[in-house]
Symmetry: C2
Subunit: 128 residues, 2 copies
């Protein structure tokens, strides 16, 4: 399976988890290839809306380009949603991190498994 297909697959799994908890969730079309900022997933209930950038990696850390994070921030600010970065390291659980949790480097933001374990939230925690 290609990396892209794996990513899409993982996003679909996350969508299932939201619906199972009676949150409505959708994947956005052509996220990344559109001229407007858009998260990978939008999930919501009557109280909260989550804009989520999803990453899957075999490594212990994932670098996110700054423009991706800026787009997530911009979208979330306009739409009225909480920006979250969800990372699945090496087929383990999804960890949800806020932008402030990530480590800023010169050209990117770093989401490491270490950061995820120290500061991230599990799915069950983020929807609470």
């Amino acid at each position: 399976m290609s990396q892209k297909a794996k990513g899409t697959n993982a996003e679909r799994q996350l969508i299932h988890k939201f619906w199972a908890q009676r949150w409505a969730a959708i994947r956005t079309a052509g996220s990344g290839s559109q001229k407007y900022p858009s998260p990978d997933i939008l999930a919501g209930n009557n109280l909260r809306k989550l804009a989520i950038e999803c990453k899957v990696t075999k490594d212990k850390s994932k670098y996110l380009p700054k423009n991706e994070i800026h787009a997530l921030k911009e979208f979330s600010g306009l739409f009225g949603a909480e920006p979250w970065i969800a990372v699945k390291f090496n087929n383990k659980d999804w960890y949800f991190m806020s932008i402030e949790d990530l480590k800023e480097t010169e050209n990117s933001y770093l989401a490491s498994e270490q950061i995820a374990k120290n500061k991230g939230l599990l799915f069950e925690e983020v929807i609470k």
Copy 2:
């Protein structure tokens, strides 16, 4: 251009209109082919969220299958969004109608140009 491509094109135009007014808007991936209900477009600002089912037709009326309308209602209720049906008749302006505006028939809901003109809102009105 296929009917499907025309529909996608029209949805993109609507997305542009939202962004031009500083609303964030996205098209959902695989709307219609997914197992969960999902609108064609989700648009939002800090105050409101709109779940929109889009239709383009050359005719003066458009029949929407009941399950589509029920799915729009279900999604909107869970996500916390206003359900809207946006119809573009014969390349004219988009008209936004609420579910209550449509005429219920045995198997579908009817959105006619007549209803649109009498009860529908134009884009500028719906975002007010």
